[in-house]
Symmetry: C2
DNA sequence: GCACTACATCGATGGCTGTCAATAGTGACA
DNA sequence: TGTCACTATTGACAGCCATCGATGTAGTGC
């Protein structure tokens, strides 16, 4: 299983610029789906709010009130979408957000500057 | 059935600012889910790319290759999420994007300005 | 080696959702 | 009034997915 089924860089011009092709829509949709879950949104915000910008899985299960397998699953989805990075240090796995990935998504959603 | 189950304005600070509550995450998730579908992304871009910024349902089924009920369903989802407006003129229903809604989503995703 | 901890994976399950055919509602027009 | 065109709703079905318990894997320390 590869770790980057979804490309990191922008897939297309801002969504309001010109009509999306089916392929572009599929790529964008895959990234947004990775984000469009309450648990994953909270995970992202928890990671970003951490002092060092990273956290291990064991620190994330309690605030979410979800089981460890479920949290691990959500982090895997975010990782495959390129929204977070994973670094194993000893027994722990530390996750951190990829700000550029979020910025890229935001850029696609930003409407073209109109009066 | 109300037309605005999802509020129009921003639900929270940028996602990377501070940890989301469960409620905030649910609201944000609902809006992102409305967007995270290839068909709906293409609908949004088709609407935005229209000369007048609006289009009737009959003009949208062909480019998407979906049946009329399905397109109507997707437009309904976007409408309930506050991402598009609907205006019935005679027999036709004209849909248009709400730029502010997209901008609000983009703002939440935009990482806090960091060096 | 053995026990313990942290994390990932597997299998199952219940709920959600995208899709269509069929149907209903509504405005236009003769 | 009757007919036609456009749109929304309903019902049904298939596929996806969030969740959990159980299990596997790997690192740590005794």
């Amino acid at each position: 299983m590869t770790t980057l089924p979804v490309l990191q860089d922008a897939c297309c011009a801002p969504i309001t610029e010109e009509a999306l092709t089916a392929d572009q829509a599929a790529v964008l949709s895959a990234r947004l789906k990775a984000l469009a879950e309450p648990a994953r949104l909270r995970l992202i915000s928890l990671l970003a709010a951490a002092p060092d910008g990273e956290r291990c899985v064991c620190d994330l299960t309690a605030p979410l009130g979800l089981s460890q397998p479920t949290v691990s699953h959500h982090l895997g989805v975010l990782h495959k979408a390129g929204l977070v990075t994973r670094e194993k240090r000893g027994t722990w796995a530390y996750y951190a957000v990829v700000p550029e990935a979020l910025a890229s998504l935001a850029a696609v959603l930003t409407p073209a500057a109109r009066s």
